[in-house]
């Protein structure tokens, strides 16, 4: 299989732009997901009245439906009842809606892994509830949930491939267009795979490294 390198070089800037779009969407999606995850897991952990139930329903709805439908519903469905969102806004909201529940579960299992005796030990030296959360519970919870948080980041970055379905000019759409217009199938697919590898592999290595760094809590006390 001979690749047409001239075509690849010519289309490089297109892929560059599309990769940036994908990356930008992934970045905001992950950031908001983390934010939603922290809030929701705290609500669940401290069993905050009334809100706990809403969070549980949200998590189930988000985890048990495909991102594609979530996006279509947001983009086409909500427009028709008067809520108009741009493609990119829709994509970010969709990714955050999906990722938020995954992050919630990850943080929550981290919080639940902090032992009762650790908390009592903190109380017995006179820490206030806030200090307890800041110095004892959160650092340990983050360390425990790090592997799942990392896996979720990769998962979300991969899920960005789906936002092309709502007309965002991302890597998938560029590829489809180039195949459709120029029949340069292999070249386009090759660039698509390379683009994703360039985004995902470094992130994957970085997360593995980060995981090792914050792993202390796993070694018990």
């Amino acid at each position: 299989m001979n690749l047409n390198w001239d075509f690849i070089i010519e289309s490089l800037h297109l892929y560059g732009e599309a990769a940036l779009t994908t990356f930008r969407l992934g970045f905001w999606g992950i950031l908001f997901s983390l934010f939603i995850g922290v809030i929701c897991s705290i609500i669940l952990y401290f069993n905050i009245k009334g809100l706990g139930k809403i969070v549980k329903i949200y998590v189930e709805l988000s985890r048990n439906t495909p991102l594609l439908i979530q996006l279509f519903f947001l983009y086409f469905g909500l427009t028709k009842v008067g809520i108009v969102l741009s493609e990119e806004a829709c994509a970010i909201i969709g990714l955050s809606f999906l990722g938020g529940s995954y992050m919630t579960e990850a943080f929550r299992s981290g919080l639940e892994a902090v032992g009762v005796t650790q908390i009592e030990s903190g109380l017995s030296i006179g820490l206030s509830k806030l200090q307890l959360a800041r110095y004892i519970i959160f650092p340990q919870a983050i360390s425990v949930s790090m592997p799942s948080l990392g896996a979720n980041c990769i998962f979300l970055l991969k899920e960005t491939s789906i936002v092309g379905a709502i007309a965002v000019m991302d890597l998938m759409n560029i590829t489809k267009n180039l195949i459709g217009m120029y029949y340069q199938t292999y070249e386009s697919l090759f660039m698509l795979v390379v683009s994703y590898l360039i985004m995902i592999l470094p992130l994957s290595f970085f997360l593995t490294w980060l995981e090792r760094k914050v792993r202390y809590a796993e070694f018990g006390n």
Binding site: L123, S124, G126, L127, Y135, Q140, Y216, A217, F219, N221
Partner: protein
């Protein structure tokens, strides 16, 4: 009122505690004087650990009162944080914070709770570490220490808050036999400095040598109190204590 002489540091009256329907403490009465070393003995599940946990405000109680320096620690408007700074507690499972170094573990309370000067707190921490023979381990993480070392650090962590009274909850129970000694030696050192202590333990010989008073508990109640430890061990008054002590003899 709170008197300076012959003071009763801790007064427990009719302490009643239950989990669901299980009664764990059936109206405990106990007074601890300043400088006293009280050892609580008793079979597993007799409520001795629960008693210690109640004193540190870790358990909700269903009846009675616990007064520290004549202030009730079970009333709604008590500042438990203040009380806990004065009542140090060491647990069976050490429970050092795994994500902090030894010195960070020790200084967390003095710096963040007591807001003390860092230099001064550091000096005290080092002095205490030196006393338990672990000054060189101040930058280690808990996972790098042996059980006995961890427990000595846990004691230093509690001592560095300058507590008036120390509670020891079976602090040698999960240690390998060869490490028990190093921890008990530290506690023995504290008795010489006149620290007020309540010790729950299964180390009978240790109890015998440090106790000013032995309290024998069974089924959530105090069965026997003895101001003469020697007397308690050789000639216990109650059948239950006799039975209990027999288990430890071969």
């Amino acid at each position: 009122m709170y008197e300076q002489d012959n003071e009763e540091l801790l007064v427990i009256k009719g302490l009643h505690k239950e989990y669901n329907d299980l009664i764990v403490l059936k109206g405990i009465d106990l007074k601890i004087k300043k400088g006293e070393v009280v050892v609580i003995l008793g079979p597993s599940g007799c409520g001795k650990s629960t008693l210690l946990r109640c004193i540190n405000g870790l358990e909700k109680i269903q009846g009675g009162d616990i007064r520290y320096k004549n202030e009730s620690i079970v009333s709604k408007d008590v500042n438990l944080q203040d009380i806990r700074q004065q009542i140090g507690m060491v647990f069976q499972s050490y429970d050092l914070f795994p994500h902090m170094t030894v010195i960070e573990n020790i200084l967390l309370g003095p710096l963040k709770v007591q807001k003390r000067n860092k230099k001064e707190a550091m000096e005290q921490a080092c002095e205490l570490l030196d006393r338990v023979g672990l000054l060189d381990r101040q930058d280690s993480y808990p996972r790098q220490l042996s059980g006995g070392q961890k427990q000595r650090i846990a004691i230093v962590r509690a001592l560095c808050m300058n507590p008036e009274i120390m509670l020891f909850d079976e602090v040698t129970a999960s240690l390998d036999p060869e490490m028990v000694r190093e921890v008990l030696d530290v506690i023995l050192g504290l008795t010489k400095q006149g620290m007020t202590m309540i010790i729950v333990t299964h180390e009978m010989n240790f109890a015998r040598s440090v106790a000013d008073r032995i309290i024998f508990m069974d089924e959530g109640d105090i069965c026997e109190t003895s101001e003469e430890p020697e007397e308690f061990f050789t000639n216990p008054k109650t059948e239950r204590a006799k039975h209990f002590l027999n288990i430890f003899q071969y």
